[in-house]
Amino acid sequence: MNKRERIFSVKQINFHYLVLLLLILIVTGVMAVRSPYFLTGSNLQVLIDTFIMEAIMALGMTMVIISGGIDLTIAGILPFSSIVLALLLMNKVPFAAAVLLVLLAAAVIGTITNTLRRSLHLHPMVVTMAIAAVLKGVDLTITGGSAISGLPDSFVRLGSVRILGMPVSWIVYIILAIIFLYFSKNNRWFLQVFFVGGNEDAARLSGIKVEALYRNVYIISASLAAVAGILTAITYSSASYSYGTNADLRVITTVAIGGTSLTHGGSGSVAGTLLGTLFMAIIYNAFVMSGISTYYQDVVTGAFLILAVLLSEGIKVLKERKS
């Protein structure tokens, strides 16, 4: 295998997945031995529930990162969406309309994010961080800090709806995951995100409408954060500005662990993100199950992140340097 093959080949990506799978199996094995409750149905349910919102947002974040950007607004959009939804419902707006309005608001925020990024020539990290801060401030002003409760009964009942035995949030995630998985491999627009992220100028010269693509990517990410916010409100029958704190870091870590490169656009995969999601969910559950102190939790998460980045970037660098 020559140098080029080693850097670009599918074999390298598979190696990353293999290591991830191995880690997942190891952690699962260790936990199963340590605690009799780990592999119970109720715990596995909880495992998924704990990370389902981040899982949804990770799908959109994957596309943003592949395009070469990053989206920190999700930590602000999630609580914002839950709050706006709650307020609309309490003002007797019908459920479907309320959901559509919230998604529309998120799309608008995504568009604003992209416009600011482009016109002010700011790094996406800066722009999205600022917008998240603004949104959190708005949330605090609207709610005065307390959670919103007293939502209509019909909505509260939604929290207990089970389709095929699964809560609404799971169904939504499964549908979205399948869509993103399939589209990212076969849909022309999704594939263009890879082109743009890999070489923006070349993509432009090939006729791809680069600016529209960036805008759409941020809209998608914002919309998924809104979906997560709506589902959070449904799950807890409540809305609060405290929801989603630091969710952006968890989501980005998930995407990075899945093998999508944070530094070079154009490389990554939704499949990797799915694996990363599974990994993170297990880890977070393992933390609580094993009673590890929160302080070590951060250390462990950080260590895995470094490991993931090493896997995807470091091997490339080492091999390039050798030749």
């Binding site: 109720s42 307390s146 704190t245 929160t294």
Partner: protein, 341 residues
């Protein structure tokens, strides 16, 4: 190919989750009076790491130790203040099937479902410090925060001689603090109407932020005679602000709770007092209630199949001053905060 494996694995986990859904039948834990099998009690807090909760946990640990070493306790909770994260932590803890759960709720509503699920699974849940009143938790141990605020108001009124302008530093939305602020204001209205609360500031529970907002406050309104902070980080911040502006003499600062920083400031006289409840005792009592609920006795219970517990226990609150700390015994009680690994 590998992607298919990943997808397959995810689906497998989901499938087993499905299977689990059907089997979530309530299990009564604890067989009251049987041989001493291992028991686990979990304390779930928001912002794990806060010194206040560490005191609660220390109380819980001691209470558990006093019953026997077959009891294990643990402290769980997200490091950031996110109610939905805390709710998820409660759910995760529930999946471990502990003998009892103690929970300080991030807000009044978000944890209701999770607490309900734990109760349905036969695990007693006792609320403490910050209550989720509608959740169905068996009991609540905490501070009467209105009373707490009133204690502060009373002291403030005495120190100010009955009149002047004061401000409150707080985190809006935190139930305990809202209540303390209410109690403070109400007492003043009824008993010292010449003291006016002219400002309520949000300092996000952070000492640096508190210093910033207090500096702005004192600069814009030099008539402020007193500052009351409803949480533990506000008084040091207010003191720092007053010191920088050379207004320490003119401003009475009364804080809430205690920490090593607050103790030092009390001893140096920079702050005039702090209202304290007893988090250690709260944790201790909360554990005892959880244990009682998990071990029903012959006493008829208000919440079968759990053991009987009273609906509410309030610890009292009192003003702690620098003078009081001159007594060695008193000082020893408030220093040496417990470290939680």
């Amino acid at each position: 190919m590998k992607r298919k494996i990943a997808l397959g694995l995810t689906l497998a986990v989901l499938a087993s989750g499905l299977a689990g859904c059907g089997n979530a039948a309530p299990q009564t834990s604890g067989t009251g009076g049987a041989a001493k099998s291992e028991e686990l009690y979990s304390m779930v807090v928001f912002t794990k790491g806060a010194e206040y909760f560490n005191w609660c946990y220390a109380g819980m640990k001691d209470a558990a130790a006093s019953i026997g070493d077959h009891i294990t306790v643990e402290l769980q909770g997200p490091a950031e203040w996110d109610a939905s994260l805390e709710a998820r932590t409660v759910e995760q803890v529930t999946a471990k099937n502990p003998t009892g759960i103690l929970v300080a709720s991030a807000d009044e509503t978000t944890l209701n479902a999770a607490i309900g699920k734990a109760l349905d699974a036969g695990i007693p849940v006792i609320g403490f410090d910050s209550d989720a009143a509608e959740s169905g938790r068996l009991s609540y141990v905490g501070t009467d925060n209105y009373d707490f605020g009133a204690t502060a108001a009373k002291s403030m009124a005495e120190m100010l001689g009955g009149e002047g302008e004061v401000a409150i530093c707080m985190v809006p939305g935190a139930i305990a603090q809202e209540e303390r602020a209410e109690g403070f204001k109400n007492w003043l209205e009824e008993n010292a109407p010449d003291i006016k609360v002219v400002s309520e500031l949000n300092d996000e529970g952070d000492v640096a932020k508190s210093e910033t907002v207090c500096t702005a406050l004192l600069q814009s309104n030099p008539n402020i005679k007193g500052i009351f902070s409803t949480h533990g980080y506000g008084a040091p911040g207010a003191a720092a602000a007053a010191r920088t502006l050379n207004m320490l003499e003119n401003v009475v600062i009364i804080g809430s709770d205690y920490s090593s920083a607050v103790i030092e400031l009390l001893q140096s006289g920079d702050i005039e007092g702090t209202v304290v409840d007893d988090p250690y005792l709260i944790g201790y009592e909360a554990f005892m209630l959880a244990y009682a609920a998990a071990h029903p006795t012959a006493v008829p219970s208000a919440n079968p199949p759990f053991g009987h517990v009273p609906p509410v226990i309030y610890g009292g609150s009192q003003l702690l001053t620098g003078e009081m700390l001159e007594d060695e015994a008193v000082l020893a009680k408030y220093q040496n905060p417990p470290a939680v690994n």
